[in-house]
Structures are given as C-alpha cells and as structure tokens.
C-alpha cells in the first residue's frame, strides 16, 4: 500500500483526466431483418413497405437512385489531458460500421444485390450476407 499514495499524488498532479467517449448511431440497424429479400424478385416498393428507406445522411448510410444503405456507426474516442496549466492533449479514436446493409436495385427497381457486413472492432469485417441476382 505504501506505493499507492505517491502514485495517486502524481496522478492527480500530472493528469487533468482521461476521457472515454462512445457514440453509436442507429443501433436499430442490427435488428433489421434482410433474410426475406430475394434478389431478382423483391422490389424497391416491397422494401419501402417493410423496412422503409435509409436515412439520407452520410452517417446514416444514404440513399441513391439505385441503392439503399443502412449503417450502424460506432465511434470510440479515448483522450488523455496531461497537466493543468499547459495541457497537451492526446486523443485516439476509431470509427467503424458495426453493421452495414447495402441493397442495390436495377432500373426497374428490382433488387440486384443484398449485402450485409458486421464488425466488432473495425479491424475484422465479417460478410454475413451476400446475395446477388443470378
């Protein structure tokens, strides 16, 4: 226990603090069911009626004339602020799509591709679904 007091003293004097921040956008995307979508059969209208359209923002995935994309964006940031008066700040963050659903359509609005990827840390991306029109 003897070493603990100086350690705490130094910690309090040297560091202003550590911050851990997490931001999760559209967690509900993980629960979207895409198993019923059949490329070549399912249409854009079917998808709109059942799961709607993706948010028209970059963070939310986006919409185009030929695709809908839903993403669950996960951001983690760790910050260390050293010192009290002069405070150099060290920050490190990661941002990745923990769930990413892409549905593309042909000119007639029929589904061409359903793709779904998943990641737990942004480093390893697992393709959990990839179905194309034959």
């Amino acid at each position: 226990m003897r070493w603990l007091s100086p350690f705490l003293l130094i910690s309090l004097a040297a560091f202003c603090g550590c911050k851990f921040h997490r931001s999760v956008v559209n967690e509900y995307v993980r629960d979207i069911d895409t198993s019923w979508i059949t490329p070549g059969v399912t249409t854009r209208s079917d998808i709109i009626d059942r799961i709607g359209v993706s948010p028209s923002t970059k963070e939310g995935g986006g919409i185009s004339g030929s695709s809908f994309r839903w993403v669950c964006a996960d951001t983690f940031t760790g910050t260390l602020e050293a010192g009290y008066i002069v405070t150099p700040t060290f920050e490190r963050g990661t941002m990745y799509y923990s769930e990413d659903i892409l549905v593309t359509f042909d000119r007639e609005g029929v589904v061409e591709l359903v793709s779904r990827t998943r990641s737990k840390d942004g480093k390893r991306v697992e393709i959990v679904e990839w179905r194309e029109r034959k």
């Binding site: 931001s23 559209n26 963070e59």
Partner: protein
Amino acid sequence: MNRIAVLLIFALPLLTSGCMWGRMKINDPEIVRLARNIEPGKTLGSDVPRILGAQPTMRMPGKEYRMLGYTYADTKSNGLMLILFNFTRSSTVAETLYIEVDSKTDVVTRMYIPPTHDLEWRFWPFGD
C-alpha cells in the same frame, strides 16, 4: 495523519462524480405526427411541405414518381464525470419519413412512417 486518511483524501476525488445529460435533435422528429395528416391517394405532393412545415431533405425526381425523404435524428448523451476519468456515451437514431408522389398527377401514392425507437440514457462506453 495516518496513511488510510491520506489515501482517502486522494481517493475521494476519484469517487466524486458529476453527471451529464445531453439531448440533440436534428430536424423535428415530430414530423412523424404531422405526417399522419397526409392521405395517400388524396393529398397532393405540392401540399406536403405545407402540412409538414418543412422542405424535404431528400428529393429524387423520376419519370413515374418522385421520392421525397425527410430525415430527422434524435441523440441522447449521458456521462459520468469523475475528476480523473470521464465516461460518456451518446446514442443516435436517424430515420427517414418517406413519401412517393406520382409525377403526372402529383398525388401522394405511398408513404412510410418509421417506427419510434426508444433511446436509452447510457453512460458506460464499453461493451455493446
């Protein structure tokens, strides 16, 4: 002063906490409530901005129909602010109210009102 008292003095700030709550809305999620006044098959596309009180965030023209989208978002941020450690987490839900309008007749033909998602106040940034 004995060692335990010294330890307590230095450990106290670690336990002293403050909390933070934040809320941010992008566009008005209330637009969903107003959208229930739109009747597919009756309402004209030109009346939609007046009913909703906003211009669409997405407008995509087409030969047969044009697509209108109203994207809105709601964010809840929560934090546990200690002296040395801060833990914060924010959860955002962004959704799009979708309206389809016939290009020839200008009548609303289809509408998708997104479900309401419950946002939780969470401060712990680790785990799921």
